[in-house]
């Protein structure tokens, strides 16, 4: 159904800080969005005094606060999350049905698969330090899925990618070497090849690439060059380029703000505030 949604909930003066994502939520709509799109990140500890106070005093939804407090010990987490979504009215019936289905699917998952979903989501949200911790827990913990070489290889690969996003090239290479033992997809070794191109000092056993055809290596080189070229005109570089065309004062202000944002993103990715 298209149209306009009326924002009824007030903006909270004291926001609700979401540690998992390093952001603050100010409105009921933002809280709904966070719950709906980040269900794997939400654990039992989400429903607590801090959230109740935010809903009651911050958003002015005292009735919802009372309801949650009353049912906190009696209802499942998924049911209480649904109560929040229903009362804020940001999602319609069909969307709530989908959320219920997702929660049911999460509940049916094994603890290992659930933790993997959480780790993947943290990675996707740029929370690399937290993602690294979750992937590491899966590798070290007593999860039956670990015995599956495909699952284990995937964990090493993800851990390697997480380290790479933090510019920890040697750690990334070590993880990918481990991943290559269980996963035989060429992407793993291509990633290692790229790391070697970015950081030539990183130690990667040469035998990893021993059976790769020279034509495939040439193709990886070409692909790497393309990615590097693309990076020059997209993403952060493009954000900065916008300011390079402005006058001196605006350029300085804009770039300062951009650097502040990048620093913030970096801090968040490391798990800081």
């Amino acid at each position: 159904m298209s149209g306009m949604l009326l924002c009824r909930s007030q903006q909270a003066a004291e926001p609700y800080y979401v540690e998992e994502l390093g952001i603050s939520l100010y409105t009921g709509e933002e809280l709904s969005y966070y719950i709906y799109h980040n269900a794997p990140l939400i654990g039992e500890d989400f429903l607590g005094e801090r959230l109740y106070r935010f809903i009651g005093s911050g958003l002015g939804m005292e009735n919802l606060e009372k309801k949650l407090r009353k049912w906190a010990d009696q209802a499942e987490l998924s049911e209480l999350l649904l109560v929040i979504l229903q009362d804020i009215h940001y999602y319609d019936g069909d969307e709530l049905y989908e959320f219920r289905e997702e929660m049911n699917a999460l509940t049916r998952m094994s603890p290992g698969r659930r933790l993997l979903k959480k780790a993947d989501m943290l990675f996707a949200r740029g929370r690399y330090s937290a993602a690294e911790h979750a992937f590491g827990s899966l590798l070290e913990g007593n999860y039956p899925e670990r015995k599956d070489p495909g699952f284990r290889g995937l964990l090493w690969y993800s851990l390697g990618m997480t380290a790479a996003r933090q510019y920890l090239w040697q750690e990334a290479a070590d993880c990918l070497v481990e991943a290559a033992k269980d996963l035989h997809q060429p992407e793993v070794r291509e990633s290692l090849w790229q790391i070697r191109r970015i950081a030539p000092d990183v130690k990667i056993p040469d035998e990893i690439f021993a059976d790769i055809e020279p034509s495939a290596l040439a193709e990886w080189d070409a692909s790497f060059s393309r990615i590097r070229e693309q990076a020059r005109s997209e993403g952060h570089a493009a954000d900065a380029a916008v300011w390079m065309n402005k006058d001196n004062i605006r350029r300085a202000c804009g770039l300062r703000e951009l650097v502040r944002r990048w620093k913030n993103e970096y801090r968040i990715s490391l798990g800081g505030i």
Binding site: M1, L6, C7, Y26, E29, E30
Partner: protein
């Protein structure tokens, strides 16, 4: 002691002040002569030579005639033009002079009625422009009246307040008013359209081309000619309509004995009132009404200064579609400013419904939101601000608020102006 509840009529020729008496529930005019026969205060100001002492009204004329000071007239016109006047080599802006004039009026009112400050103040002027209204609010502020206590209305609005504050038989049918001043002859007409909830109180006003300079009334032949002109106007304007009452106001009607034929004509089966404080008293009635929780005037006012159509948007909440009214027909346009926060869901067009109070049709106007950054559905919160520059001129501003820290605001604002028919 309670604060004053004041109405000030600012005219180019003269101004008037009325105060609401909560005891008698009536508006009382500020008289400026010892015998309390006149309430017209000439809109002139005079600065005493070499001293920072200012006089207004007849006293200003007297001081200027005695060569004790320098006088400036046409204060309202000067202020509307954003003009200035030089007195003793010092340049005074029109707004400064108007402030001094209004301040003197306030002093005179306090001397006459007492009162601790001003609780509610309504300025009434012939026509309302945004910049002049802003100036009056600023002047009131300098005189110690807070923004929230000041309202600006047109003469048509305060005419409606005045008439509707009278006994019901005065406005059972249509009413009209002839306002004869140095500025010319203005004709006002009002009626209440029944059978609707709320009822509509409608007024319109027209400056008559066949007005005349009041100086013609100085001679016998001039008075006769003036009488003839008024009769001719009355025949044309009052023909084939049923009027309960006719009001005569303005400096030209301080006395009415110069227009016997006109009086004979208008008095036929109608009540006729001649008085000098219609607008100021209407403004005082309006000022008192502003303080009530529920208006004593349960009408939708349609006249100069009031919005003709209700402006709304449809928005969903809790699965239901709601009509969110941003400006109600009959609201004073200067004060009709409102905002609402919305989230577009599957659309990048904001649609407003425009529903004229006097007609069942609904028009639609749209604002395209595709200038805002592309984001996932339902993650752009917008603030919609509706304001008016005149009765039929609406400005819509839509501000991108982003979606908290999940999607930062771009800081962009889309502005669009609409002329409402």
């Amino acid at each position: 002691m309670a604060g004053l509840i004041m109405g000030i009529d600012l005219g180019d020729d003269y101004s008037q002040v009325s105060c609401w008496n909560p005891g008698t529930e009536t508006a009382e005019a500020l008289t400026v002569t010892e015998d309390e026969s006149s309430c017209l205060i000439s809109s002139v100001i005079c600065k005493k030579k070499t001293e920072d002492v200012w006089y207004v009204g007849e006293e200003a004329y007297r001081r200027a005639l005695l060569n004790e000071g320098v006088m400036v007239d046409k204060l309202i016109k000067l202020a509307r033009r954003d003009g200035s006047a030089t007195i003793e080599g010092v340049k005074y802006t029109a707004s400064e002079l108007l402030y001094r004039f209004v301040n003197e009026l306030m002093k005179m009112t306090r001397e006459r009625f007492g009162g601790d400050g001003v609780e509610s103040l309504v300025f009434t002027v012939q026509s309302l422009e945004g910049s002049f209204a802003d100036l009056l609010v600023e002047i009131a502020g300098r005189c110690g009246v807070p923004r929230g206590c000041v309202h600006i209305m047109t003469h048509a609005e305060t005419f409606l307040f005045y008439v509707l504050s009278q006994q019901r038989d005065v406005w059972a049918n249509a009413c009209c008013m002839f306002d004869l001043t140095e500025e010319g002859l203005h004709y006002y007409e009002m009626r209440v359209i029944r059978g609707r909830r709320p009822q509509i109180a409608e007024a319109w006003h027209e400056k008559q081309e066949d007005g005349f300079d009041l100086s013609v009334l100085d001679t016998e032949s001039g008075r006769h000619m003036g009488d003839l002109i008024l009769v001719s106007c009355a025949r044309r304007l009052l023909a084939r309509k049923v009027f309960s009452s006719v009001f005569l106001t303005g400096r030209g009607f301080v006395t009415t004995d110069w227009a016997p034929d006109f009086l004979t004509y208008v008095c036929q089966k109608r009540k006729v009132f001649a008085g000098q404080h219609v607008f100021a008293s209407g403004a005082a009635c309006a000022a008192a009404d502003q303080l009530r929780e529920t208006s004593a005037y349960p009408f939708t006012f349609l006249c100069e200064g009031r919005i003709e159509s209700t402006v709304s948007v449809n928005a969903r909440w809790g699965g239901r579609s709601e009509k969110v009214v941003l400006a109600e027909a009959g609201t004073n346009w200067y004060e009709a400013r409102s905002s609402v926060e919305l989230i577009p869901d599957g659309t990048d067009t904001l649609e407003f419904q425009i529903q004229p109070a006097s007609s069942p049709r609904t028009d639609k106007v749209r604002v395209n939101l595709d200038e805002f950054p592309r984001r996932p559905n339902k993650t752009t919160r917008i603030e919609v601000i509706v304001a008016f520059n005149a009765e039929n001129s609406m400005t819509v501003r839509v501000r991108d608020l982003g979606f908290g820290e999940l999607f930062m605001s771009s800081g962009k604002t889309i502005r669009k102006d609409f002329l409402l028919s």
